[in-house]
Every structure is written in C-alpha cells, then in structure tokens.
Symmetry: C2
Subunit: 350 residues, 2 copies
C-alpha cells in the first residue's frame, strides 16, 4: 500500500473525524481510498499486491488470470443509453480488459427488493445478456437474494469476472514510463451526466446518452497495434482520479492539455450549470491509456477504427518521473494541479 | 435446464400469479427455482450447463476452474457463532469445495448503508479475514459502494470465488448412482435457528451457535478417502431442498432415515415451538455427500477425524434410479415424500 501516500493528501477534516461511513466513502475518490487504506485493506491482511489495479492477477498453473468484482447500485435503474444490467456487465468486462485480459466468464449476484416488478427484472436480465454477447463473455454463475421492502433500493447487481492474460502482456497502473503518451478513447463525462439527467428531482433534460460499453475489443486492437503500459477505465471519480492513481502507482508527472480533452457540448453545459468539472465525472465506456511514445500514433489509429474508439485522442504525456503529479495546461494558458475527487459528487452513479 | 422438471412441481397458485418479486423468491426453494427457470436463465441465454451445481466449471488452458458467487444479506449482521463476514467467506469457499475444487481466491463486494459505524465494518472485515485464513484462501479483489440511508439495510456482502479442480475429480449433483450412501457432515438446522434467536422481535433465547465454517479441508479429507459422487452444502432451503435438487439432477430415488438425522435438542425444540421442520432450515457449515457404497465407511471415518466432520453420519441411500424422489422413513415407521421448501420460511438467513 506504499503507493497510496495518504500523508500527502489534503482531505477536509470533518470527513476524517467521522466514525461512520459517509456517502463520500463510495465516491471512488479520496474518501474511498481512505476507507480502503485505513480500514478494509489492513483488515484483509492477505490482499493481493495488485489491489490498486482494476483487477487482481493470479498465477494458476502457469497461466495468469485476472479476477475482479464490482457491485452496481446505480439510481435510477434505467437511464438514457443504458441500465443497471448493461452497466454491471460492462463494468466488470472493462475491469478485466484494463489488465489486458481477455474476459472469460462473469458471475451475477442479484439483491432484489421485494416488490420489484418481474417486467423490470426481465428487461435488466435481457440487457445483461445483450451486453455479455457483445463482449463475447458468458455469464457462468449466479445468485439471487430478496430482501424486504425498504431494505434495499429496488435492485443491486454484483458482477465478478475472470479473464486470461496472454503471455507478454504486462499492464498495470505502476507501469507508466517517461515520455509515455496519454490517450483517451473518447468524450468524457457522458455517463455521469446522462444518469443525472434521468433523476427526476434534478429537472434538467438532455439528449445525452450514457457511454456504457464493453471495451475488450478496443483493448485487443490496441494491444495488437503497439506497446501499452497502462490502461484504466475512468469510472467513479472520473478521468482526474484515474490519472492521479496512475501517477502515484508509477511515481510519474502527467501533463494534460485541457483543450485536447474531448467533451460533448451537452456535458460541458450541464457541468457549467451544476458547478461540476468533467474531469471528475464518471465514464462507463471510456479508457485512458499510457502508451510508448513511438507507438502512440499506431495505437491511436487502431483505436479510431473500432466502434468505441472513434473519437480517441491524445491528451497528454508523462513529462517526468520520481514524483506523483497530474498537471493540467488550461485553455487560457495556465497550469493547475489536478487531484482526486475529495468527497462525493454524484452518489450512486454506477 | 431440462433437469428442472418444473411441470411436476406443485406450487401454491397465488405465488405463480404474482407479477412482482416476493420474499419467497429468495428462499432457495421452489419459488427461487421458479424465478430462475422462468425469468433469469432464459434471459441469460449463455448460462453454463453446470448452473444447477454450486459453482460453474470452466475449462481454461487445460485446467478446470470452478467459479461461483453469493450475495449475503443476513439480518442481523452479528449472530451467535458468526457474522455476515464469516458467512460471506464460508459460503463461497463452500460452494467451491462442493465441486471438489481447491479454493484459490475470493473477491469481496461491499454495499454499505450510509451511517454504518466504522467499528462495525472493522469487526466484519476482521472476521472475513479470519475465515479466509482458516480456509487458506486469499481475498484478492474488492469493491465498495455506499448508498443513502434507507436504501440498503446496513451492509450486504457479495463474495465470488475461483477454485481449481484437480484431475480425476468429477463431482456434480448429476453424478449420484444406484446404491450411493448419503452422508451428512453433522447436525442440521444450527445456523437458521441461531440467526433466528438473534432477531430481537422473536423473543426466544438459546445457547445454540451458527455452524458457519469453511468446509474445504473436510472435502479434501473425503476425496482422499474414497469415491465421492455428489457434494452439496444445504444452505437456504435446508437439507430437504438440496436432496430434492440432487434427486432431480441425477434422476434417482433417495431414501432418508429420520432417526439417523443428527439434530441438536435446541434446534428440535425451537422447530417444534415455531412449527418448522429442521430438514428445511439453513446450514452454513454442513455438507451432504453421496458416495460410493463400498467407500462409505472409509469416507465417514475420514470425516470424523476433521474439525467440522466429527458428528458425520450416514443418513440414507439411493434406492432407485430413473425418477426423482426423496423419501423419508419416519421415526414412527411411516414413509413420506420430501419436497423443496415451497415459499419463504426464514427470510435473510444468509
């Protein structure tokens, strides 16, 4: 856990002094990391060394398997461009893909609130199946629990998955190197803003849809095109949080160019309205890659040939090593440091 | 799914005509099976053929891996002899062990209700770790989600796991053979009654403790001692439901002797008081095995040498094939048919 460097993180005092779990502990940002580092990881003494990556890597009989889990609690269950079922499959497929693994099989654990209409469950199961088919993965095992009305909010879905890492593939947040080029696979913030727009009490509308998608075929194309060092899907906590994590795991300085960040006008507009920064908004069908300088053009071109990489763009570079920092060259010519999401911005976004 | 034979199952009409999920759909009995067969499995078209066993079996690069998942929603979180953390680890370890697999790694997905005391979480995480250590398995990956107050009941834990099935091991609910001897590893009903006793509103007390325990070492001892055809841990739905499932998967007639069923006096007393049948009460540290006739004595002796098999007993036999039936020779000399748990008896028992 040395890569965490918690001492260096400035966190609002009130959060630190709480004795109970806050919504922000599920944000994917600083508070989440704090809960992990101070309570969960020390408790689970046997946690594997790769626990800071999107999946653990296990050596089994001469093969490397990636293993990952994600619970999904998104509210509402259906949102423009997706639903909790598609999200649950894509989330776990992507965590496997971010280790360079070929996803092999998923498990599906449903926690259902008594009273959920069959029709709702049926639509969500069909959506899981469609997403699994798109990713080319089988849903191999499942479990269903039902709790009383009021003991859960409609439906929670856990998906866990295993994937096979081919020989020669070695991808980790700890593998960034000096000179690496940072590529994003498309526009940022789509998922978070699409889910937000579906929450009735917020009263704003948009034509935006979630980007929820399985990225394993995109990753395959990238690995065939050149040397990829780091892959991560910037979900909770957004692109900023993913890059800060990578900078800490690899001890590198990453410089981003704000004017290169692809972001839809609808996302920009919603963020301005709500006081959000797209850098911190969740994505569910995007990846950020750090790749070898000389292979960047080939990898970018390969990405742009795929369904979910058409708007891929180079957005920055590793400009130094020996310390962890993410810097943003702003559109108005300044530079600012980027940190993780401190608390909670959008609860239950995934 | 042909092994399900739903046509043959008599189920109260009102359950069948509902359009929403009922508590009984999480019982592990007939309603659970109905939900699976009519909605979830047809939706997930790619479900693996082993979905009726406790874990799926995947062939990966010449090796057979078992993969399983379980969400735990037990209420209360702490009960005599265990807590949700121990339950979550043992539940998944046991599902792997029931395929004859050596458990290798677990994932842990926490869904936390805002406001859960850190101290509670800490105790539960420590308990997970202790159970994992006892089983000799690592918790390799995790995920934490937090939902608003009132959107979940304190804490739900999903554990998924993978295990390695050694060459020559072939255990499945479909493998029962004529003449097989039925062995239970100890007393039945302890877990269900212990959890029930911890529910304040029921107002009865007992010195009984849950049997929650990892059974992988017990299974190892059994496999070394003789030919094991079927293993199952009778959790939700109890021993009756497990045996009915096995009889259907294997198309065999199983005869049990009621006076051979080990059951603690406290469990018997509680069942009489509450109108329950111990055959349907959940266990979390027991297994039922169908083993080769000529190896039964050796397997039983090996079981009795282990920590969790000291009270193992032979309780019945496969007396016929070609149809699915479980018969109970009662203590008063009669014979009755045993069916699955029809609806819900003890919600949130695991």
């Amino acid at each position: 856990m040395t890569a965490l460097h918690l001492e260096g993180v400035a966190c609002p005092a009130p959060f630190r002094s709480t004795t109970t779990v806050l919504l922000g502990h599920g944000s994917g940002g600083i508070l989440s990391r704090d809960l992990l580092a101070r309570l969960i990881l020390p408790g689970l003494g046997t946690v594997a060394p790769h626990s800071l990556d999107d999946a653990a890597v296990l050596a089994i009989g001469g093969q490397r398997l990636a293993l990952t889990t994600d619970s999904h609690v998104v509210s509402p269950l259906f949102f423009p461009g997706g639903d909790i079922g598609r999200l649950a499959v894509c989330g776990t497929v992507n965590d496997l893909a971010m280790m360079g693994a070929k996803p092999l099989a998923l498990t599906c654990g449903l926690i259902i609130e008594e009273g959920l209409p069959f029709e709702t469950l049926q639509r969500i199961v069909a959506s899981m199946q469609a997403a699994a088919q798109e990713a080319g993965i089988q849903i191999a095992a499942g479990d269903t629990k039902v709790v009383q009305r009021g003991s859960a909010d409609k439906l929670f879905i856990n998906t866990s998955g295993i994937g096979l890492i081919a020989d020669g593939i070695n991808i980790s947040g700890a593998n960034a190197q000096a000179g690496d080029v940072v590529i994003i696979s498309g526009t940022i913030g789509d998922h978070g803003i699409a889910v937000l727009s579906a929450r009735e009490n917020l009263g704003f509308e948009t034509t935006l849809t979630s980007d929820a998608a399985p990225l394993n075929h995109l990753v395959e194309a990238m690995l065939a095109a050149g040397e990829v060092h780091v892959l991560r899907d910037p979900t909770r906590g957004g692109l900023a949080t993913s890059l800060v994590e990578i900078s800490e795991q690899s001890q590198v300085v990453i410089e981003l160019e704000e004017n290169k960040l692809p972001c839809k006008p609808a996302v920009k507009a919603a963020c301005e309205l709500l006081g959000f920064d797209p850098l911190f908004i969740a994505n569910e069908g995007k990846l950020v890659a750090l790749v070898k300088d000389s292979d960047a053009a080939a990898i970018l071109a390969a990405m742009q040939q795929t369904q979910y990489g058409q708007e891929a763009a180079i957005i920055g570079r590793v400009i130094g090593t020996g310390k962890a920092q993410v810097r943003l060259c702003t559109t108005i010519g300044g530079t600012r440091l980027v940190d993780m999401l401190p608390g909670e911005m959008l609860p239950r976004i995934c």
